[in-house]
């Protein structure tokens, strides 16, 4: 039983990483007033590129780095469109998701003649403490959450950034270069998402597959709202979702192990557990929503 619990905790610690990294990244982006719903796309693209690099170099840390770089590049694209070109942030994100999926798959096909999966690559070794295992990136995710919180709420840079998301006109009048801050916030947010995407491969599965992100980009987006735009809560959000997901897998297996009853169609019902549980938790803990007021609105000066 204790083994089961540790196993669930390991699962949780492993699953929370991308949700927290991308969640915190998106919080930074959104706090500046920009929405990026292209998280799913960044996940895919950075997962793919980090696979390629890790495959050819054998170095998963390099893969991680490349994931971050691809995140940065995606952020630059989204930043240019939504900040400087005053484009529609959501359309850009929707388009990016489609583009990132398509281009990664095209590259996968031309590189490895496969439409579904890459070969296995080296992974960043897990940290193993007794029967508990988690990734070094788990620690990074925690640290990133704390650091982002500290930076947003305790430093001048954070103050400026939040001002851009609350009232860009006022921020501008007080000497903040709103465009620049928003642009960088988008880039940083995407970089963290890129790290999360790379983790999917080099920290977790060890292989790129066609649907590697499997909707996690959207879950990360939900995590942003769940956390009420607070990076510390985004850590909790990642853990919570990871935990309930692990639980939803554990329960039917354990029931089957104990009683011999196989779940067939009902297996789908167990899969609703993480989503329902998240909703219930939100309903219980929800306080006043602190959404950035200028969120999603392009800042046009005249």
């Amino acid at each position: 039983m204790i083994g089961d619990i540790l196993n669930i905790i390991s699962n949780t610690l492993i699953s929370m990483v991308p949700l927290t990294l991308a969640g915190v990244g998106e919080i930074i982006t959104e706090k500046s007033g920009v929405v990026n719903i292209g998280l799913e796309g960044i996940f895919i693209l950075s997962a793919f590129t980090s696979t390629v690099v890790t495959f050819y170099t054998g170095n998963p840390y390099l893969g991680l780095l490349v994931g971050v770089i691809v995140g940065v590049l995606s952020g630059i694209l989204h930043g240019l469109i939504s900040v400087y070109l005053k484009g529609d942030q959501i359309i850009a994100g929707v388009g990016f998701n489609s583009f990132a999926y398509g281009i990664s798959l095209l590259a996968l096909v031309s590189l490895w003649h496969s439409h579904g999966s890459s070969p296995s690559v080296n992974k960043i070794p897990m940290i193993i403490v007794g029967s508990l295992s988690f990734s070094p990136l788990t620690i990074v995710a925690f640290l990133v959450g704390f650091a982002a919180w500290w930076w947003l709420y305790k430093t001048p840079g954070g103050l400026r950034l939040r001002a851009c998301g609350e009232d860009p006109r006022a921020a501008e009048a007080m000497g903040v270069n709103v465009y620049r801050v928003r642009f960088y916030a988008t880039v940083v947010g995407s970089a963290l998402t890129g790290l999360g995407g790379a983790y999917l491969v080099v920290g977790w599965i060890g292989q790129f597959t066609k649907f590697i992100s499997a909707g996690r980009g959207f879950i990360a987006l939900a995590n942003v709202a769940f956390s009420n735009w607070n990076p510390l809560m985004a850590i909790v959000g990642g853990l919570l979702f990871g935990f309930f997901e692990a639980l939803s897998i554990y329960i039917p297996i354990k029931l089957q192990e104990m009683t011999g009853r196989v779940f067939t169609a009902e297996a789908s019902l167990f899969r609703t557990i993480p989503y329902l549980a998240t909703l219930v938790v939100v309903a219980i803990i929800m306080k006043k929503v602190k959404m950035p007021r200028a969120l999603g609105k392009p800042y046009i000066k005249e």
Partner: protein, 383 residues
């Protein structure tokens, strides 16, 4: 090799075939990818022209079928996967001059212009069940598991076969086997496959059978981690294509479902002018299903090698490792049981049931769990 010299100097127009994949398209490591292999082989060996198409969604199937049939451009439309069943049934009668081949499903109707090719997945799964049970004992356990995709009819057959195989092993050896069957609800979410496998391994499953496309890729990786993190020793088995090369040390064997053969056969019928509408079922006897022998393993390892996926290994090395693991974990007594069972199946002494409804499927599983092996059989008996 014999196909290298395609029918030269044939004045008449080349046979043209369109292969229409399932909605998911290629990359599933399963029937779509296998269908592609078969069609490509037909292209090479039979000299046909093949085009491919992946419909975006279910709602695209009927209009695409109609438009393609109307154009008359293709001698044969090969439809991959059960999602095409309804759409084909709807349009087949409107285009009597268009030939259709439906792979892995049937409309249940016999038509002049339609061939349905089905598989008896129970047969391969039964063998895999026996092998898994044997391997589990070699690994010091008695639990085997399966990471399955969604609760859909083809998987019912796998479930029945796998459970049957385990119970058959139990019966033959007197060693109890526990089966943990988990539907993940997805054929695409690799991480769910990883987590599911981890949980199954935690419940002492020693061998996991992957029946979930890309989801079970995650299972493979979980097996690797489980072994390499020193949490225990466990093995995996793939299905459909030969997947040993993914991790030859931990995947000693995969089940085969020769969608490629089915596609090839359908095309061949057109090329050779032997077209005959109807429903064909492929099983062990017809080599439509089975487990991949080392030749098959080599063939797929070769594909992987050519695509640059086998980093630092040659196909031969893969085969050697697989051979060693097979020898280490699949003991002769297990092979005896496998061969004996295969023989019974091939000879038609026993024939598996194919459940028509979900209730029937559940009923069979329930009976099997009680130890009533005959509940899975349409014909014959093993008690």
């Amino acid at each position: 090799i014999q196909g290298e010299t395609s029918p030269t100097a044939t004045p008449e127009k080349k046979v043209k075939v369109a292969v229409l994949f399932d909605v998911g398209g290629r990359g599933d490591l399963s029937f779509n990818d296998m269908a592609y292999l078969g069609a490509e082989r037909a292209k090479k060996e039979l000299g046909v022209e093949v085009d491919y198409m992946t419909p975006k969604s279910n709602e695209d199937m009927v209009p695409l079928l109609r438009q393609l049939s109307e154009s008359g451009e293709y001698d044969l439309l090969v439809l991959i996967g059960f999602l095409w069943t309804g759409p084909l049934n709807e349009v087949a009668d409107d285009y009597p001059n268009q030939k259709f081949a439906l792979i892995d499903s049937t409309t249940g109707k016999v038509r002049e212009n339609e061939v349905d090719i089905l598989f008896r997945e129970q047969e391969v799964a039964a063998l895999m069940g026996v092998i898994a049970s044997g391997m589990a004992y070699e690994l010091g356990g008695n639990t085997i598991g399966a990471v399955a995709g969604m609760d859909i009819p083809p998987l019912w057959k796998f479930h029945i076969g796998y459970l049957f195989g385990a119970k058959y092993f139990e019966k033959k050896t007197g060693k109890p086997v526990k089966v943990l069957w988990q539907y993940t609800g997805t054929f695409t979410d690799t991480q769910v496959g990883y987590n599911t496998a981890m949980q199954l391994l935690q419940q002492d499953a020693k061998v996991l059978y992957g029946l979930a496309g890309l989801t079970h890729v995650g299972m493979f990786n979980a097996i690797i981690d489980w072994n390499e993190q020193g949490k225990g020793k466990a093995l995996a088995m793939g299905q459909d294509a030969s997947q040993e090369w993914y991790a030859p040390k931990y995947i000693p064997i995969s089940g085969a479902k020769r969608v490629d053969v089915a596609v090839y056969k359908a095309i061949e019928m057109v090329v050779k002018g032997e077209w005959k509408g109807g429903i064909v079922t492929l099983g062990l006897k017809e080599n439509g299903v089975g487990y991949w022998d080392l030749e098959g393993v080599r063939e797929f390892a070769q594909f992987a090698y050519e695509a640059g996926k086998l980093k630092g290994m040659t196909p031969d090395e893969v085969v050697n490792i697989v051979k060693e693991t097979r020898e280490a974990y699949i003991k002769p007594y297990v092979w005896d049981i496998v061969n004996e069972l295969a023989e019974k199946i091939k000879s038609g002494e026993i024939v598996f049931k194919t459940p028509k409804t979900h209730e029937e499927y559940e009923k069979i599983i329930e009976e099997l769990n009680k130890g009533n092996l005959d509940a899975a059989l349409e014909k014959g008996s093993v008690s």
